[in-house]
């Protein structure tokens, strides 16, 4: 196999890792407001159960994105340059969302004050909704093709990115991540949150099946190649299994099904593009795995690095999930240990 194809596949794998793993992180963040009930203290307890199901792993999950970005830069610099300068504003929104999300995770519990926590929660929700929708919009545009000029520069402008197909793609990823997050919570939490997450997944999975199914068929009929029908069929099958499993509260099966659906979606997206990495309306201007790629030497070096390190990453990330495999329930959440900005500690004898 050509190294360019290997790297196309590897980048697809990195995106798969990102979307499967961050998919439920985003879902959990989006569900913070939807699955917490009762008075302020109970609500906060529910939210802490949810946040802590992904507490030890969300940061490692996010690195899949940075690695996908770095790998694109290394293996297909033209793709990296055109895509990120072309999709500048949507990417800016995603970055701003990811920034507030990171600090909200780490700083939420540092100050014991309801207003501080509610600010952090809003940051977590916005920081999860925005990328969940915009990644779908971005991939929708990649599948559909964009306006590139003869120098492979994106010249379509911002509003052209908001076409119906791409927007439906945004709705699709948002719904898939919501459901994926709900089944993850049902699998990883206990008590009220588990019950509510299960009920939510049962309802959301049906909507997801309809919307994601519609988008996949549209993508397949309008923009894809025959063999990706297989991905559409697998995605549809996984979504049907997801619906059934969610109704019956088969939590492990439901989670597996939503993960498989995301994998199939990535296969559909990347399968539709190949051998282009960024299809243009005028096929002559498309960026392909060949004209966007680095040299053979660079790809060889990077192949060795990736072949050695990727299995290691999977191994220790898998181990992390094993270490934190136990369900989290409200009675296992410790009391708040944060400080307050107001109160200063006094020493037994006043300072002279």
């Amino acid at each position: 196999m050509e190294l360019t194809t290997v790297w196309f596949l590897l980048i697809a794998v990195l995106w798969t890792g990102y979307l499967v793993l961050e998919g439920f992180d985003f879902g959990v963040g989006m569900l913070l407001g939807l699955l917490s009930r009762g008075d302020r203290a109970t609500k906060d307890r529910d939210r802490r159960v949810m946040i802590n199901t992904i507490g030890p792993v969300w940061d490692g999950n996010e690195v899949w994105l940075l690695t996908a970005g770095g790998a694109t830069f290394a293996a297909f610099p033209e793709w990296y340059a055109t895509m990120f300068s072309g999709f500048y504003l949507p990417l800016l929104l995603i970055l701003l969302a990811l920034i507030v999300r990171v600090v909200a995770f780490e700083w939420r519990g540092k100050i014991d004050d309801p207003r501080w926590r509610s600010l952090a929660d809003r940051c977590l929700m916005v920081g999860s909704w925005v990328p969940a929708v915009l990644w779908g919009v971005a991939f929708g545009n990649l599948v559909r093709g964009v306006e590139l000029d003869a120098d492979h520069q994106y010249v379509g402008g911002f509003w052209a990115l908001l076409n119906p197909f791409a927007l439906l793609g945004g709705a699709t990823t948002a719904l898939i991540f919501l459901t994926h997050g709900a089944v993850f919570l049902a699998l990883k939490s206990d008590g009220d949150v588990r019950v509510r997450a299960g009920a939510f997944a049962a309802r959301a999975s049906v909507v997801t099946l309809v919307v994601a199914g519609a988008w996949a068929v549209w993508a397949q009929l309008a923009y894809s190649v025959p063999w990706t029908w297989a991905a559409v069929v697998v995605a549809a099958g996984a979504l049907v299994v997801l619906v059934v499993a969610a109704q019956r509260r088969k939590e492990g099966l439901a989670f597996t099904a939503s993960a498989v659906a995301i994998v199939a979606a990535v296969v559909l997206i990347f399968g539709s593009m190949y051998p282009d990495v960024m299809p243009a309306f005028d096929p002559a201007n498309s960026l392909t795995v060949t004209n966007a790629s680095s040299t053979d030497y660079t790809l060889t070096v990077m192949t060795w690095v990736a072949a050695f390190l990727t299995p290691l990453v999977l191994l220790y990330q898998g181990w992390t999930y094993w270490v934190f495999r136990k369900r989290i329930s409200a009675d296992r959440i410790p009391d708040h240990t944060g400080l307050t900005f107001e109160k200063l500690p006094a020493l037994s004898t006043p300072d002279k």
Binding site: V57, Y80, L92, V102, F105, V155, I328
Partner: protein
């Protein structure tokens, strides 16, 4: 302002922001690992208390370091797409390696360390923080490999047909002599930052406790932290100076315009003095001759550059001529190109870097003296110096980077002047900026990042301040499953040892 100016300001602001937090993480992670190692080996709870105390500060800082770092991974493509096309074949590799080899390790094992206190055996848990500490340093190595290549490209050739640089030798890139000097310099500076941070906070607390009549606690917990901080400061301080000297020698050879500008040296002369203070219109290269040097050390610059007090060094005027002959008089728009960076920024950036580094030296000397032979100090000025010194290495790092990066202008990839160096591999910053991205778009992101980072920095400062003045908790019992009191079988029934 055009897109180029806005994009440069944006990259500068976001990078300087990022590098406020980065050195503390790079240096503090190993220090926390050392503290935890001391606890695991000696069983002395003082070290557990210090580990938890500085661990909290590390985590507050780590979060914003990660948050400001995400932008950097994409900013090359967003605002500097033409640069990315030109260098991607070479520059992308260290970036991707950094993510694969370092980011994954630090993010995954930090999660294990934060949440794993009562889930992992003591030694495995300790290994997690060491993995984080090593990975943060490894990450610095890869990103400096990328940056050093921009300062001094090696292991690449220019492909005329594709109009881009192409990698020929990854080994050369990962052993670039610029990298081998920049890495120790940056890492030493990071350890100096963390050593000053630890010693400064601990010195303040030591003084406070002694004055409150709790000298025993000051001696038991904070004095060891001061001593650890001082040791780290001394070793890293020497490292900063030696590696800085090495870097300066390389710079004279490889980026003569940067060093000539840093010294406001206009004419090629021999026995060049080192300028300590200068006045005059330090602006662009054209004003160089109007600068008056007030305070100078004779021959010192020649010595620093070459090891010979009488050596001849090139001045900006001759360098400008030489570069014009080699790389052209005018740019694509017919404007004359100045190959000399902004004198004010390089001249003062260099001096402020060195000057602020002396803040740590002052604290190290004083703290070493007042803690000699088991003593503690209640002198209020020691506490004040401790607090004041904390800011200085941050400022020194920022000015050092501003000097390094602004001194590279007008190049984004500086030409390698060595004979047999890589011909054709250079790029003017003006040619690297994205061409399809409008000024308004970049201005939007510049404003958005600056405002958001500004707000976050305020919160960061308040959190760090609040947690620093809280001090160590009075009791930290061993939370690990190795502790006989913590039955591992019932671990899933107890509250989590840590939860967000």
């Amino acid at each position: 302002m055009d897109t180029l100016d806005v994009a440069r300001w944006q990259f500068g602001i976001t990078t300087v922001y990022h590098f406020i937090f980065v050195p503390l993480t790079i240096g503090l992670a190993p220090l926390v690992a050392i503290m935890q190692t001391a606890w695991v080996r000696t069983g002395n709870e003082r070290w557990l208390r210090l580990t938890k105390f500085f661990g909290k500060l590390l985590l507050i800082n780590f979060a914003i370091g990660v948050a400001t770092g995400i932008v950097q991974e994409f900013q090359f493509g967003m605002a500097w797409s033409e640069y990315s096309r030109f260098v991607g074949d070479v520059f992308g590799a260290p970036l991707a390696m950094e993510a694969l080899a370092a980011f994954f390790v630090e993010s995954t094992f930090l999660g294990l360390w934060i949440f794993g206190w009562d889930k992992l055996p003591k030694k495995i848990h300790l290994a997690c923080i060491w993995a984080v500490a090593i990975a943060t340093n490894l990450s610095a190595y890869f990103i400096l490999a990328a940056n050093s290549w921009m300062q001094h490209p090696v292991g690449a050739t220019f492909n005329e047909e594709r109009g881009r640089a192409e990698m020929t030798d990854i080994g050369a890139i990962l052993t670039n002599n610029t990298l081998l000097a920049a890495f120790p310099h940056t890492i030493s500076a990071a350890f100096l930052t963390a050593g000053t941070f630890v010693a400064g906070i601990a010195a303040w607390w030591m003084v406070r406790l002694v004055r409150a009549g709790q000298a025993d606690k000051a001696r038991d917990v904070y004095r060891p932290a001061v001593v650890l901080g001082v040791i780290v400061m001394v070793i890293s301080g020497v490292g900063v100076a030696l590696s800085g000297d090495q870097q300066a020698k390389l710079m004279f050879e490889q980026q003569p315009t940067k060093m000539a500008a840093a010294e406001a040296l206009c004419q090629t002369t021999s026995s060049v003095p080192f300028s300590i203070l200068a006045i005059g219109p330090l602006g662009t290269g054209a004003d160089c001759d109007k600068v008056t040097h007030l305070l100078e050390i004779p021959g010192a610059l020649s010595f620093l550059a070459t090891g010979d007090f009488s050596a001849t060094l090139q001045g900006t005027d001759q360098l400008q001529q030489e570069y014009e002959e080699k790389f052209g008089y005018t740019d694509a728009n017919g404007e004359p190109i100045s190959y000399i960076p902004n004198l004010a920024v390089t001249y003062w950036g260099f001096r402020l870097m060195i000057g602020f580094a002396l803040g740590s030296a002052a604290l190290a000397l004083v703290a070493f003296w007042v803690t000699r032979k088991g003593r503690v100090s209640g002198n209020v000025w020691v506490g004040r110096l401790g607090i004041a010194a904390i800011a200085t290495p941050f400022l020194a790092s920022s000015f050092g980077w501003i000097f390094t990066e602004m001194g590279r202008q007008p190049w984004v990839v500086a030409p390698n002047p060595n004979p047999g160096g890589v011909d054709g591999v250079w790029l003017l910053t003006a040619r690297g900026v994205s061409t399809v991205t409008s000024t308004g778009t970049v201005l939007t992101s510049l404003i958005a990042f600056t405002l958001l980072y500004g707000v976050l920095a305020v919160f960061w400062y308040r959190l760090m301040h609040r947690y620093a003045i809280q001090g160590v908790a009075d009791s930290e019992h061993d939370p690990s499953p190795d502790n006989p009191e913590n039955d591992p079988d019932t671990a899933h029934e107890r509250p989590l040892s840590f939860a967000y």
